[in-house]
């Protein structure tokens, strides 16, 4: 019987040959990721063991990853103390996939997992972060869960009561025009599907645009699949997945691929011609409020942000640096750049991108989530407007409910930083 890629992954993880949409399973977990919210997971985990007389030991320390990224270096004594308690727990439990606040290994969790080869095609990955959908870029079934659910995974190694989700197939063909990027594609898809259009479903990406897209672009589109409500986005593994895992992540062992059956059944099929796409912007305060940039050109912006798990990778910094090199960020506009990982930061430094950006007036922050969630860096003032390559523009995101966040690609962000107003990179002269 024909199955989607997620049906196949879940069947294997549940010891079955075939599963139906809606069936309830308890799949084995291959990787369980948390960040600073491991503090809450620990609390719930100890609560599970409370009164059992058993030693509270995680099911398999080699399958747990903990990455500090949300508030690094700590912005408060509360965060610092949480981080300290997590460090002690990590040592006690023998968790090795731990990335502390260090320039040689730090980064945003959704960048670290692929970079270090922690995620493989066919894996079941869960993370206490909604953008865990990112790892579908490597052909894994990867989704966000809450802290208590993670405590349950740490205990049992399986995830209880997973319903096999229906899948929406998005087929994208054609070549992008100049200054059109995977970010524009996913914003366009979210605009079409709406913010809840894929709730409880998986989005499977196909077509030659996707096949030719590198893993960085695939991470962008899977990352933002959750903004259409999707449980997960997924690009079935292929040659590019193997290339990335070998060349970037340094994986040496076998990389088997899981691909969907040709005649798998989909809930819905969406076809997109990539060659007709223009740069897109998601306007406040929902990610599905998407418009072509040409419709909102000229809006003044006080802050430009380039970074995050969505668009803080080397190719994103490269395009920004190429646009800003030898020029100046407009007066009255602040430009903040935060690379997604230490490896990216150091490579961008070597290649001179960071220097070009700084000379133009940008501030380079340390790798981490930074302004994306507005907790300790880059918060907005009352009534201010930001243009950002991050993934959410909800009211209050970036730290101020009376400010506005617009979302776009790195090219749109960089061009707009020069003018101080939202600008179409393909517009006019």
């Amino acid at each position: 019987m024909s199955q989607t890629v997620v049906q196949k992954i879940l069947a294997k993880a549940s010891g079955k040959s075939h599963v139906e949409v809606g069936e309830v399973l308890e799949p084995k977990v291959d990787l369980a990721m948390s960040h600073e919210n491991a503090a809450l997971v620990m609390n719930q985990f100890l609560d599970i063991y409370n009164g059992t007389g058993l030693d509270a030991k995680v099911w398999d320390p080699s399958k747990i990853a903990i990455i500090f990224d949300h508030r690094v270096p700590a912005e408060s004594k509360k965060t610092a103390t949480n981080q300290k308690l997590i460090r002690e727990f990590v040592a006690e439990q023998g968790i090795k996939k731990f990335h502390d606040i260090r320039g040689d290994e730090m980064g945003i969790c959704h960048q670290i997992l692929p970079e270090y080869g922690y995620v493989r095609p066919g894996y079941v990955v869960v993370g206490t972060d909604s953008h865990t959908t990112s790892h579908g870029a490597l052909g894994a079934f990867s989704f966000g869960i809450g802290a208590t659910e993670m405590a349950s995974v740490w205990t049992l190694g399986t995830i209880l009561n997973v319903e096999v989700p229906a899948t929406i197939k998005v087929e994208i063909n054609g070549k992008f025009q100049k200054h059109v990027a995977p970010k524009d594609l996913i914003l366009y898809v979210i605009g079409k599907l709406t913010a809840e259009g894929a709730n409880f479903k998986v989005i499977e990406f196909h077509g030659d645009t996707i096949r030719k897209m590198d893993t960085s672009g695939r991470l962008t589109i899977c990352n933002m699949s959750v903004e259409a409500g999707a449980t997960s986005g997924i690009v079935p593994g292929d040659e590019e997945t193997i290339r990335y895992l070998r060349e970037v992540a340094g994986v040496k062992d076998d990389i088997p691929l899981t691909i969907p059956d040709r005649d798998a059944e989909y809930d819905r099929i969406l076809e997109i011609d990539a060659s007709t796409l223009v740069p897109q912007v998601a306007c406040p305060h929902t990610v599905d409020n998407v418009k072509p940039v040409s419709e909102i050109e000229g809006l003044k912006i006080e802050q430009v942000v380039i970074g995050s798990c969505t668009n803080g990778r080397l190719d994103d910094l490269e395009i920004a640096a190429s646009i800003l090199k030898g020029k100046k960020v407009a007066k009255g506009t602040r430009m903040l750049v935060f690379p997604a990982s230490g490896n990216i930061y150091r490579e961008a430094m070597k290649r001179g991108y960071l220097n070009d950006l700084m000379e133009a007036g940008a501030v380079i922050a340390n790798p981490g989530c930074g302004p994306c969630l507005g907790v300790h860096q880059g918060a907005l003032g009352d009534g201010e407007r930001a243009l950002s390559t991050t993934n959410r523009n909800f009211k209050g995101r970036m730290g101020n409910p009376s400010a506005e966040v617009y979302l776009c690609s790195p090219a749109v962000a960089a061009v707009s930083a020069l003018t101080g107003v939202i600008t179409n990179p393909n517009g006019g002269n």
Partner: protein, 165 residues
């Protein structure tokens, strides 16, 4: 009988329910004070503690979209609120089930602040307006977590069964 104390629009995100700047506060005993921190009237109403015995918040579609932060559930659970929405975002709904926050999926819900509501036979009855609305029941697999008293006791039971094997 429960009373509607507040109405919210569509797409209420976890950034509204529990702003990111309070994320370092994790314990369910400490999160309730920050519920809807940026909706100052609602936050004050919750923290003043003069709420009816059973209080309901009525929202539109896609309630709880955004972050997986579980504080967004524990903060509401701490005030013993019931959330009625046209539908919920997946992670929020699962977190609510796991923690025992009462959520009601009611696609047609129509109510105003002050209305008295009652649940009977899979229907939400608005006693004030006299209208009643269909409730979408949770799938059985999720109901079993609620019946066990939440995911912590449910997992504990499974752990003990595994140990016994």
């Amino acid at each position: 009988m429960a009373k509607v104390i507040y109405k919210l629009e569509d797409d209420i995100s976890t950034d509204i329910i529990y702003p990111g700047r309070y994320m370092a506060t994790v314990l369910p005993t400490e999160t309730p004070q920050y519920a809807f921190a940026d909706l100052t009237d609602l936050n004050k109403m919750l923290n003043d503690g003069n709420l009816p015995q059973q209080s309901i918040i009525v929202a539109g579609k896609n309630f709880g979209c955004g972050s997986s932060r579980e504080q967004a559930c524990s903060t509401l659970k701490g005030h013993e609120l019931t959330v009625v929405a046209r539908n919920f975002a997946r992670i929020f709904l699962q977190n609510s089930i796991n923690l025992g926050l009462q959520t009601i999926v009611c696609p047609e819900v129509d109510a105003s602040v002050g209305d008295e509501m009652e649940i009977a036979d899979n229907k939400l009855i608005n006693k004030t307006s006299g209208k009643s609305f269909e409730i979408i029941p949770l799938p059985q697999a999720r109901q079993s977590i609620i019946d066990a008293g939440g995911l912590i006791p449910y997992t504990r039971k499974r752990l003990m069964q595994n140990v016994g094997k």
